[in-house]
């Protein structure tokens, strides 16, 4: 694996190239720490293995506000950092929602909520049929889980017994009918191995995201500040 390491300060600096904002506001991005830990310490993937069928798959379902995602990918060498400076322009491959056909390392085009988890379940199922060791990790938002397509995917994945699968749900308490703790309870009720961690604590995130269950799906609820 030729993973290029990066630190959080570097990613924050890259994000300012996208937003023009000061560090303290970009650091508030709810996905930042999870993405950093995933690409630094968890996913078995790198820019030179994008066509390896056994690479791990990461699907960013919550595709809006993809600045942290682009910064992490740039920091890990998936595309030139200069791309960040043209963010959102007509000729730029980087827009406000990622396009998998334009950006190396982006596995799904997202932006319409409620698609990533079902896509990831289908991918995990196909990988199992091929007996691939790859795992699939999908990042969703808590409000995104209001979309009904997720409910079907959560039940289906448990029903067919997928085990190479982790969903990380960023909880900033922005679901329309939020009740604290209910999201984790929903996964657990459907038979998922569920843990809730501090979404800003890299140690907790690393342990939870690296955890694999031989016979169960894994749900990690990453609690961040309220939106």
């Amino acid at each position: 694996m030729t993973q290029i390491t990066s630190d959080l300060d570097e990613i924050l600096h890259l994000m300012t190239r996208l937003t023009g904002d000061e560090k303290h506001s970009v650091a508030a991005t709810s996905t930042l720490d999870v993405l950093h830990v995933l690409y630094e310490d968890v996913l078995d993937v790198s820019p030179d293995r994008l066509d390896d069928p056994d690479r791990d798959r990461f699907y960013l379902s919550k595709g809006h506000g993809p600045m942290a995602y682009y910064a992490v990918l740039a920091a890990h060498g998936y595309f030139p950092r200069e791309w960040l400076d043209e963010f959102g322009t007509y000729e730029s491959p980087l827009g406000f929602h990622p396009d998998r056909t334009l950006v190396p390392g982006v596995e799904i085009s997202s932006g319409s909520l409620g698609h990533g988890l079902p896509l990831a379940v289908g991918t995990a199922h196909a990988l199992r049929i091929r007996r691939s060791p790859a795992r699939v990790v999908v990042l969703v938002g808590d409000a995104e889980l209001d979309e009904g397509s997720n409910a079907e995917a959560i039940e289906y994945a448990a029903g067919v017994g997928l085990a190479n699968f982790t969903v990380v749900a960023i909880d900033n308490n922005s679901s329309s009918y939020a009740v604290r703790g209910r999201m984790a309870a929903r996964f657990a009720t459907n038979g998922w191995h569920t843990t809730t961690v501090d979404g800003r604590d890299h140690g907790q995130l690393r342990a939870a995201l690296r955890h694999r269950e031989p016979h169960a799906l894994v749900a990690v609820v990453a609690q961040v500040e309220d939106k």
């Binding site: 827009g95 929602h97 396009d99 932006g111």
Partner: protein, 223 residues
């Protein structure tokens, strides 16, 4: 009345529109915003150039594309008291001049050349194209059903439809109105292939060929 972005109102909820409104025989006013490329910078997920084509498959639906604030206001006041199903397509892109909203087709410009039917927010661009073509320009806020009588009274042999959604969406309605007479039809709208670019609505209008100079160029080549 239901309102959200066109992609989510029409495409995501289409089966519910088909079955839970139309098939139940229930009316309503569905108002979308965003159109084909209002939100160019956020990409395909928030663009729905196929909305008018999709909605036109619903039996009995009335489709409106008012393109000034005044036209939107009048359209909503017409649709709300009605018991039928209405789709009102509202975009941030707009025309300079307002016309009376409703079923009537307006003759905006008379000429001796081809007839250009402008639908939605492309009236300004269509008028700009018409200048050098000596064209007649028609405009209506009601895209479906079309005002066939006025259309028939104001077309010669060459008919051009300019529509800021999937090219060819309105061709069937126009051809059906002119079925008994020799005519040829050019449809100009958004391209069917994805424009995989971000940027601004102006850049997307250019990419689809929906600016005055680009329309004039293509019509001239066709004539």
């Amino acid at each position: 009345m239901i309102h959200t972005f066109s992609a989510f109102l029409v495409e995501r909820a289409f089966e519910q529109i088909k079955l839970d409104l139309a098939h139940q025989g229930v009316g309503g006013v569905l108002v979308s915003s965003g159109g084909s490329y209002d939100m160019a910078s956020v990409g395909r997920t928030h663009q729905s150039p196929g909305d008018v084509a999709l909605m036109s498959t619903i039996p009995g639906i009335t489709i409106h594309a008012p393109s000034t604030a005044e036209e939107v206001d009048v359209t909503l006041r017409l649709a709300l008291p009605d018991t039928g199903l209405h789709y009102v397509r509202v975009t941030g892109l707009r025309n300079t001049l307002s016309h009376k909203a409703g079923p009537t087709l307006h003759v905006v410009r008379r000429g001796g050349g081809p007839t250009l039917l402008a639908l939605g927010h492309v009236l300004d661009a269509t008028l700009a194209a018409a200048d050098g073509l000596d064209a007649t320009v028609l405009y209506t806020t009601q895209v479906l059903p079309l005002d066939e009588e006025t259309l028939r009274g104001n077309v010669g042999q060459d008919v051009v439809v300019v529509e800021p959604w999937h090219e060819g969406t309105s061709a069937h309605a126009v051809s059906a109105a002119l079925a008994d007479r020799p005519h040829r039809l050019l449809s100009m709208g958004t391209r069917h292939e994805e424009v995989r670019h971000y940027g601004s609505p102006r850049e997307h209008a250019e990419a689809h060929g929906l600016t005055g100079p680009r329309l004039a160029e293509r019509i001239r080549a066709w004539l």
